[in-house]
């Protein structure tokens, strides 16, 4: 590792790696809400991080296979033996709201009668 790798230079925001619009889109995908100030700060930080990650572009890896599993192993199968699942009331005790033996959630569909 060269010394330069540990340090980095903050790039000017003129050519951002990620725009504010993209930040808001990604937040929507991730089911997060961000205030205006949080979104602006998020853009600045993600921009710096993605700018650093551009270093990967120095490598030509088009012929290199990806490593999704670092230690190769087969998907194991266990004997198909029925066993007791966890206790329903104990599980539901951790729910923010439950009703009639199930999770209670806000209205999903409104149906006109």
């Amino acid at each position: 590792m060269s010394r330069g790798r540990i340090c980095y230079v903050r790039r000017p925001m003129a050519d951002p790696k990620i725009t504010l619009e993209q930040v808001l889109h990604v937040a929507k995908l991730a089911r997060l809400t961000l205030s205006d100030e949080e979104a602006r700060q998020m853009q600045e930080q993600l921009d710096a991080i993605l700018g650093y990650m551009e270093g990967l572009d120095d490598l030509d890896v088009s012929e290199v296979p990806p490593t999704f599993h670092s230690i190769p192993m087969d998907a194991p199968l266990r004997p198909d033996v029925p066993e007791r699942c966890s206790d329903r009331s104990e599980t539901l005790a951790q729910a923010p709201a439950s009703e009639a033996g199930g999770y209670a959630v806000p209205l999903v569909l409104e149906v006109d009668s």
């Binding site: 590792m1 060269s2 010394r3 790798r5 540990i6 980095y8 990620i18 993209q22 930040v23 990604v26 937040a27 995908l29 991730a30 089911r31 997060l32 809400t33 961000l34 998020m42 930080q45 993600l46 710096a48 991080i49 650093y52 990650m53 270093g55 990967l56 490598l59 890896v61 290199v64 296979p65 990806p66 490593t67 999704f68 599993h69 670092s70 230690i71 192993m73 998907a75 194991p76 266990r78 966890s86 206790d87 104990e90 599980t91 005790a93 951790q94 729910a95 923010p96 709201a97 999770y103 959630v105 806000p106 209205l107 999903v108």
Partner: protein, 488 residues
């Protein structure tokens, strides 16, 4: 009871087994010390007096009845608060799980209970194990027992500080990109990141599933090795658990290093800006050579890309894993006008800044149009990092680097710049990405009195050789007889 609070796990078990101390007496002493020092160090998020004393009483009862005692009978242990404990709050240091009480034990917790260990409580961490300083805990900052204004490291900072401060001889942490090794280095203790698949993750709250492992932490290599023997092994409830026999890690500590080839990554060492860390590693290497090890130069040319690769892969996996926290089945719910608003409000309020940042980065890296350029590319470079090790291990039995580029940095020093914080993980990330076992053990103290950690990495499932080499380092340069000076 003699030697409190610095006795080893072996000494405690012996005292309990021969009856010179009862497990209840030992437990009471450690609970009192934990209670007293926690106000300063904030190692524990929960201290479980009742559960600990009940477990200790059970050990004493077994002894009285003449039953066989487990390898950790009566030994207090601190467990990271992202490992599920039946009936005991498990928060991941997050507001979103602030009141969560798991209905089941993690596999490793079951193994601890079966070994006779006494769980003192749940230790502080960076929220969902995301961080390198423990400053991302939603509840409190852990302080380094060697210097209270320094970070304990992260994410298993509470486990490391508790062990270093003599609040427990043993602890469990989890390691995704260095989360047991880096805090062990900062706090002057030993920690092992086992091979991916060596220890079951059943009941470990998932962060990045292709990287997460549970790791033992202790003040000595022998105790960490013993703890690994207790928690390792196949478990069918974790599909990535390897069907491999557990090794003889404790016995491996006494094998010596004669003829073992230690790979030195010369350009990484020479590139170190911190002269004290470099000198400490060099002196440990010299000591190993004197003990009969053979030093060979190896290279990890792609290790410099590990920060980019890791922070793409780990965040992508985290964004998927943390989708489950939506306020429906457990944890916090912040009601909205409809289901979608309930999700977004719950997640915005429940997750802290670093967790939100990683979810955002990971979601971006996986999103349409960016998957190939970021996520897939990172997985390809990961292959190059793995191949670097394959080549290195043709010439050596272990690869040696520092654990961290510097000793413990100050609390607050890196919080305003997430990228600076990420870059400090440069040495612990490459073996994580390659799934390899690694150990961090102290190689001495810096001039400022802060511990320095040495990292050793071995081929898959070769944890035994890590124990042998680390034990030699501990014998020559370890900190066993030095205790943290900053304790009140």
């Amino acid at each position: 009871m003699s030697g409190f609070p610095w006795q080893s796990a072996f000494e405690i078990r012996e005292q309990v087994a021969v009856g010179s101390a009862s497990a209840v007496e030992v437990t009471r002493a450690y609970l009192a010390r934990a209670e007293e020092l926690n106000t300063t160090l904030a190692c524990f998020l929960t201290i479980d007096h009742e559960g600990a004393l009940a477990a200790a009483a059970q050990v004493d009862h077994k002894r009285a009845a003449g039953e066989a005692l487990g390898p950790l009978a009566g030994v207090p242990i601190a467990v990271k608060d992202n490992l599920c404990t039946r009936g005991v709050r498990t928060t991941c240091a997050s507001k979103i799980l602030g009141e969560y009480v798991p209905p089941y034990d993690a596999h490793v917790v079951e193994a601890l209970r079966a070994s006779g260990a006494v769980l003192l409580g749940k230790t502080n961490l960076d929220e969902f194990a995301m961080g390198s300083s423990n400053e991302n805990s939603a509840f409190a900052n852990v302080h380094n027992p060697w210097a209270l204004d320094r970070a304990p490291g992260g994410s298993s900072g509470g486990s490391a500080a508790a062990t270093a401060a003599g609040l427990a001889p043993l602890a469990l942490g989890s390691d995704t990109g260095g989360s047991v090794r880096q805090p062990a280095a900062f706090c002057g203790i030993t920690a092992i990141k086992p091979t991916y698949g060596r220890v079951s993750r059943y009941g470990l709250v998932a962060f990045a599933s292709s990287l997460d492992q549970v790791g033992p932490m202790a003040r000595s290599v022998r105790e960490a090795s013993q703890l690994l023997e207790v928690v390792a092994g196949h478990d069918r409830r974790d599909a990535t658990s390897a069907e491999r026999d557990t090794g003889n890690y404790l016995a491996a500590c006494d094998r010596g290093v004669k003829g073992l080839r230690v790979g030195v990554v010369r350009d990484l060492l020479d590139g170190l800006q911190d002269a004290e860390v470099r000198a400490s590693v060099e002196s440990a290497l010299g000591a190993l050579e004197q003990e009969g090890a053979i030093l060979v130069d190896v290279a990890l040319p792609h290790a410099q890309h590990a920060v980019s690769v890791y922070y793409l892969i780990a965040t992508a996996e985290a964004s998927s894993n943390l989708a489950r926290f939506d306020g429906i089945r457990y944890g916090l719910r912040v009601p909205g006008k409809d289901l979608t608003e309930t999700y977004t409000k719950t997640r915005a309020e429940g997750f802290g800044p670093e967790v939100r940042r990683r979810i955002m980065l990971g979601t971006y890296a996986l999103s349409a149009g960016y998957y190939d350029a970021f996520y897939l590319k990172a997985q390809r470079v990961r292959t190059l990092i793995r191949r670097d090790y394959d080549t290195a291990f043709e010439h050596c039995d272990v690869v040696c680097t520092p654990t961290t580029p510097t000793p413990a940095f100050a609390l607050g020093e890196k919080t305003s710049d997430p990228l600076e914080m990420y870059l400090a993980d440069i040495f612990t990330l490459p073996p994580s990405l390659a799934g390899l076992p690694a150990i961090s053990t102290p190689s001495g103290l810096s001039g400022g009195g802060l511990p320095v950690g040495l990292q050793l990495v071995a081929p898959p499932f070769e944890e035994e050789v890590l124990c042998s080499v680390a034990q030699a380092v501990e014998d020559q340069c370890g900190l066993l007889s030095t205790h943290p000076s900053a304790l009140p």
